[in-house]
């Protein structure tokens, strides 16, 4: 019967629909329906960024009409390129400075806190572990306002500006480092520490010779995420800034888009996106390189995503 109807045009159209439904929803095949949704989301989220990046290479002042490729807004425009506009240059410097200081201070503190919290048994351990998650869920604006109050009324020797901004970034970054490192600590367990102690290593030597090498991937991942969060931050940087000299790139972009922005704003945004991408990618690659052997062993020592256990 299907042979007979297949020759007529409407039936053929119907069968195309049926075939499409079969292609999307074949329970024995790949989950194509989900694949389509996933790709749809990726296009939706990445296309605006790509367009913004594209116009950072525009040769004219327009941010909407494409007139050809040029590095004008990066390097050679005498007054408005990222390289030659002192405001842009300074904002980039300020962002990198904050992110660098954040990584250098928040990561070591976060690692120590994670070690302490993961090995702390008994009263208070549970609530401390819970409180550690607070900065992750507190709205940033609340944290910004509270920190401003603290610096304005209690720790009055800390003035708004770079120092306050660094302290603010550290405050919310530590939690991320703690969560990542603690996840890794739980997944590697106590066995390596015990083995080291059994073989004659004092707690300090066990930490240095065994635990830190095993934590390296988590520490690198924590540093990469800290850097990316800090360079991306707007709310805290804005609340704790002292104007002019402490403007970061996100603050600058926000201000500029309210005036008449030039493609140089796109250029500096492109640079930011690039730096963030490279940092996170590097963190991921290091994490993978360090844990490759463990996955090959297949002994369930460390799952792929152990770093993101909470």
């Amino acid at each position: 019967m299907s042979d007979a109807t297949a020759t007529t045009a409407p039936a053929e159209r119907a069968s195309t629909v049926t075939r499409l439904r079969g292609w999307l929803g074949n329970p024995w095949g790949r989950p194509r329906f989900l694949v389509v949704i996933t790709w749809g989301y990726m296009v939706w989220s990445i296309v605006p960024v790509l367009i913004a990046v594209q116009f950072s290479f525009n040769s004219t002042r327009s941010r909407t009409i494409w007139s050809g490729f040029s590095l004008r807004w990066f390097t050679w425009d005498p007054s408005d390129s990222v390289m030659n506009d002192p405001d842009l240059r300074h904002a980039l410097g300020q962002s990198l400075k904050l992110a660098g200081a954040d990584v250098l201070i928040a990561v070591p503190i976060g690692v120590l806190l994670a070690l302490g919290l993961a090995r702390w048994r008994g009263r208070g351990a549970g609530s401390s572990n819970f409180i550690m998650l607070f900065p992750l869920v507190t709205p940033e604006i609340v944290m910004g306002v509270s920190l401003l109050l603290v610096f304005g009324h209690i720790f009055t020797f800390i003035h708004t500006g770079t120092l306050a901004q660094v302290l603010g970034h550290i405050t919310f970054s530590i939690s991320y480092v703690v969560v990542i490192v603690r996840g890794r600590l739980f997944s590697i367990g106590r066995q390596y520490e015990e083995a080291a102690a059994d073989l004659g290593a004092s707690p300090a030597v066990a930490l240095y010779r065994v635990l830190l090498p095993l934590l390296t991937p988590a520490i690198v991942a924590g540093a990469a995420i800290t850097f990316a969060l800090s360079i991306d931050d707007f709310v805290i940087s804005q609340w704790l800034s002292s104007g002019g000299g402490t403007t970061t790139v996100p603050m600058l972009i926000y201000d500029a888009t309210r005036a008449a922005p030039l493609p140089s704003i796109n250029a500096i945004a492109s640079i930011m996106a690039f730096i963030t991408l490279v940092t996170v990618l590097a963190g991921f690659l290091v994490y993978r390189a360090f844990t490759r052997g463990e996955r090959a062993a297949g002994g369930g020592m460390v799952g792929d995503m152990a770093a993101f256990d909470i």
Partner: protein, 369 residues
């Protein structure tokens, strides 16, 4: 000779659980000593206290007469082979084995020599540069052994070291491990829940239950002459029967239902309600019409073919079910399902047991001996 471990009234309580409940054990130097018991019996906790990973709540741990209960693990002259091996994944085999020597600041050339020597002992020469992840489970197990043995400890602690390996490899390594222990001559304290492992390798076995020691004896004695209900049940098929001890001293007169049996083994001076056991291979099945002392009529309930033997499950007239194990010698077995038989339970095979009240393993986890 060094390596004598003595546990005195050892107790370990965790928040609400008493894991080890007053253990006294003496493990002389050079002995292969096993702690055998089901999970949760306290054997691993005891081992961890000897290693120093747990602090005893009470009691003493003597190594060659010195109490080391409060010495941290890195200062104890004992080494551990972990169940998970715990090889350092970021170090290669040679560096794993050399880890302890470097902590002792042994000279470089001596370290190299001893690492090579020990790797040869465990037959891993040539694997120095491999990472643990690039080795099989059996090889990793040998690295773990080498890493502990290279330090020439007075005592080697082994926490179910063969648990993660497949059955065939486990059998081969059991024999190797025993040979290795005799070669190096140090005390091995071995924790396992596998009775076959314990029976194969040990000089003596401590059977543990509920944080206590049920019996300490050489393998043959533990198997042949279990002193408690738990030991009889845990080591192989238990064939437990409730009985009433009514008299006798060297020969214990038992009343089981309407029948009277004599028993000459175990706690023969017991009186009142007792439990008795008999090994399945000691139960003789005879035709229905046979008569004599220590015979109980019954009916064959089931035959189970086990290859080299046949298990006959007999429902006795007194209400209990017992197993008889017949060697498969090629002749036909005259019993079928439903055959009425006389079960002969020889007096010198019936054992009166001491009931310590330790919970027995549930039936479905029982493994044929």
């Amino acid at each position: 000779m060094a390596g004598e471990v003595t546990l005195v009234d050892l107790v370990k309580r965790f928040a609400s659980v008493t894991a080890v409940d007053g253990i006294n054990l003496e493990m002389p130097s050079g002995e292969f000593f096993s702690m055998l018991g089901p999970s949760g019996c306290g054997k691993t906790t005891t081992l961890r206290m000897i290693a120093g990973f747990e602090q005893p709540t009470e009691g003493r741990i003597l190594l060659d007469g010195n109490d080391m209960a409060y010495t941290p693990p890195h200062k104890r002259n004992v080494n551990t082979v972990f169940q998970s091996y715990a090889l350092f994944p970021h170090l290669n085999v040679a560096d794993n084995v050399a880890f302890g020597l470097r902590r002792q600041k042994v000279a470089k050339h001596e370290t190299r020599e001893r690492v090579a020597e020990t790797l040869e002992l465990v037959q891993l020469t040539g694997f120095e540069k491999r990472k643990p992840a690039q080795m099989s489970g059996g090889q990793q197990q040998r690295v773990a052994l080498a890493r502990a043995l290279v330090l020439k400890p007075a005592v080697l602690l082994l926490d179910e070291p063969l648990g993660a390996l497949d059955a065939k490899l486990r059998k081969a390594l059991q024999i190797e491990l025993k040979a290795l222990q005799q070669q190096v001559g140090i005390t091995f304290i071995y924790v396992t829940h596998d009775q076959e492992e314990a029976l194969t390798m040990s000089d003596r076995i401590a059977v543990m239950a509920d944080g206590r020691v049920e019996q300490v004896a050489p393998p043959q004695e533990v198997y042949e002459e279990p002193s408690t209900v738990f030991v009889a049940d845990f080591l192989g098929v238990s064939n437990l029967m409730d009985a009433e001890a009514v008299g006798g001293a060297n020969i214990c007169r038992l009343r089981v239902g309407d029948f009277e049996l004599d028993a000459t083994r175990g706690k023969t001076d017991a009186r009142g309600s007792v439990r008795v056991t008999i090994r399945p291979e000691r139960v003789h099945l005879e035709p229905q019409e046979s008569t004599g002392q220590n015979r109980v009529p019954g009916m064959v309930e089931r035959l189970v073919y086990l290859g080299n033997s046949v298990q006959v499950i007999v429902h006795l007239a007194v209400g209990t079910t017992i197993q008889a194990l017949l060697q498969n010698v090629g002749t036909e077995i005259p019993w079928k399902q439903g055959t009425a038989v006389q079960a002969h339970l020889p007096a010198d095979a019936l054992r009166v047991l001491d009931d310590t009240g330790a919970a027995l393993a549930p039936l479905d986890s029982a493994v044929p001996a």
